[in-house]
Amino acid sequence: METFLLTAYVLMWPVLVALVLFVITRAFLREWAQSRREGRPII
């Protein structure tokens, strides 16, 4: 049980990182597509 908990404790962080990466990338792609539609620079 302790091994399982420690494993979950260590591996939960890369999973959370992957989730944040997904959120940020999706938002960036939407902003980039919108800026292209509007004909303006993304930043």
Binding site: T7, V10, W13, P14, L16, A18, V20, F28, E31, R40
Partner: protein
């Protein structure tokens, strides 16, 4: 555990890696480069950056080399809770500034630096205190990242430390110089993709390659009772608590956070900062787990230096191709912070030292841009020089941290309370630093009644820290209740022994003294400042805009600052 002989990349391989990385980021910066950069855009990118880029930039900026190295060292030293006591509180530095950030943007929507707003609110002395501390902090950060990069490359290649420092410095300057903050932010996005992607993939690979989860059982005997305890008091008192005390100080004192606060589209402040908090925390704690794994494996540190821990673990368990990618991840982390520091320094020089000196109406945008670029070059040169000399910056870092701690209450109060005066602000900061120094460096004996007296002051500091955090999210009434309750609850556990922890005591007395002095002097004031004046005094320096930029401008929000709930 056998001693590690670190893999050495050939000179050609390292050069190709660095050219690929910095060349790539330079190309990205060229994509957004303009022949005639706008001075305000150079500093805050037009105040309407979207969520994706802002969140990525905030995450990348806050993750510097020290974040990862210190988190891993914390894991190796304090065991399983070590990375939490570094990464969690560091992440909260981002989170706890955002409620104040909304008020700051409402009061000064077109500001470039916090110091600029302090000039409009109070005057020169307040501005220079904040700007000066920002400059020193950014220079230290820049130097630290160059040193970290220099050590890493010299460890893994035939190049020496100074050559490596020059390579990193040159690479960062190359892509940041022309477009300033805009280049910094966009390249942050590319860099954070790499950083987060690498951690998400390589950490599990190292975990399984190192023989986990079985090694949790075989290596359990390598941990002390404190190290295997998730609720380790050792880890909390030596790592977590001092860091909690520093949460608001670093958030207020760091121009890289404030710059992103002013850059992001105003209605996106909350999601940006929450996402950056989670991203930073997950990444840094995740990398910190390498220290915990090393502890279970009984890894001997190369040369006894904890800064070698991360390269060691990566070199032990990753094939050379993945190791190269891991190295790029660290270079990305330190470069993203270094370019943010350059952008921060240039904005302070442009807005605070030039813009406010000649006045908004007289400021010449082209001169401003030139000053910004020269600042970047000079800052890089100074940082390279100090990094090459191998000077100890720890004492300077401690002093700047204290100054930031002394600034927290006066700065925050200045945005909400119309009675705070320039004199109260200045005297409070000076008094707080004057009390901090003897406590932090143990210049005075804590024998007899002296220790408990400082403990009582520290208890007030605990109330101030937690009260301010609660005020930001829930308003004045809740802030006061939490502050008083925190002080009363912590008193029996703190009085009589807290003075044994000089770092923690130093931070807490700083908060207490600056708050008490600022409050008592301001309460007696008959002044009543009109906050609307700030919006008039702080604005764009460069009125030339693209029509497309103007079409995309949004209205500002104006929240009631003292109401509950955010």
């Amino acid at each position: 555990m056998p001693e590690t002989e670190l893999i050495q990349f050939s000179g050609i391989a390292i050069v190709l890696l660095l050219v690929a990385f910095y060349g790539g980021t330079f190309v990205v910066s060229l994509l957004i480069g303009k022949k005639e950069e706008n001075a305000d855009g150079y500093m805050t990118a037009g105040n309407k950056v979207g969520f994706g880029i802002s969140a990525a930039s905030m995450t990348a900026t806050w993750i510097w080399a020290a974040s990862m190295y210190a988190s891993a060292t914390s894991g190796y030293t304090y065991g399983i809770s070590g990375p939490i006591h570094y990464g969690l509180w560091g992440a909260l530095m981002i989170l706890f500034i955002y409620p104040f950030g909304r008020r700051i943007r409402a009061v000064a929507p077109r500001a470039h630096t916090l110091a600029e707003v302090m000039y409009a609110r109070h005057g020169r002395s307040s501005q220079l205190m904040l700007a000066g501390s920002n400059v020193v902090g950014s220079l230290i950060s820049l130097m630290s990242n160059l040193i970290a990069g220099g050590v890493l490359i010299s460890l893994l290649s035939p190049f020496n430390f100074i050559q490596s420092v020059f390579a990193i410095a040159g690479g960062v300057l190359l892509y940041t110089l022309w477009s300033g903050f805009r280049a910094s932010v966009l390249t942050d996005f590319v860099q954070v993709l790499g950083m987060l992607g690498v951690v998400a993939v390589l950490l599990p690979i190292i975990f399984f390659a190192a023989g986990f989860p079985a090694a949790f059982e075989s290596g359990a005997g390598n941990l002390t009772a404190q190290q295997s305890n998730f609720f380790s008091s050792d880890a909390f008192l030596n790592q977590g608590a001092p860091y909690i005390a520093a949460v608001l100080a670093y958030a207020i004192g760091n121009q890289t956070i404030a710059q992103r606060l002013f850059a992001v589209r105003e209605d996106l402040i909350k999601p940006t900062f929450i996402t950056a908090t989670i991203g930073y925390g997950a990444m840094v704690i995740g990398v910190g787990m390498l220290g915990v794994l090393a502890l279970y494996l009984d890894v001997d540190l190369l040369n006894g230096d904890p800064n070698n821990l991360i390269p060691q673990m990566a070199a032990l368990f990753l094939p050379i191709g993945l190791l190269a990618i891991f190295v790029l991840m660290i270079i990305g982390a330190l470069s993203s912070t270094a370019d943010s520091d350059l952008a921060a320094l240039s904005s302070i020089a442009m807005a605070d030292f030039y813009g406010q000196t000649v006045g908004k109406e007289n400021a010449k945008p082209k001169t401003m841009l030139l000053i910004g670029r020269i600042t970047m070059v000079v800052a890089t040169a100074v940082s390279v020089a100090f990094a090459s000399m191998g000077l100890s910056i720890l004492d300077l870092l401690v002093f700047v941290g204290a100054l930031w701690g002394a600034l927290v209450f006066p700065v925050i109060a200045s945005f909400y309370w119309d009675k705070v005066t320039n004199k109260a602000f200045t005297v409070a900061v000076i008094a707080a630093v004057a009390v901090f120094l003897p406590v932090r460096f143990s210049w005075i004996s804590m024998d007899g009644l002296v220790g408990p007296i400082f403990d009582i002051i520290s208890v007030v500091g605990i109330g101030v820290v937690l009260g301010l955090m609660a005020f930001g999210f829930f308003g004045l009434r809740v802030g006061k209740i939490v502050g008083v309750a925190a002080a009363l609850i912590s008193a029996p556990f703190s009085i009589g022994f807290l003075h044994d922890y000089a770092t923690l005591s130093g931070s807490l007395v700083t908060y207490a003294v600056s708050t008490a002095v600022c409050y008592l002097m301001s309460a007696r004031s008959t002044d009543s400042f009109d906050f609307a004046l700030i919006r008039q005094r702080v604005g764009d320096f460069d009125e030339t805009e693209d029509l497309d930029d103007e079409l995309a401008r949004f209205d500002e929000i104006d929240p009631d600052p003292l109401a509950g709930g955010r």
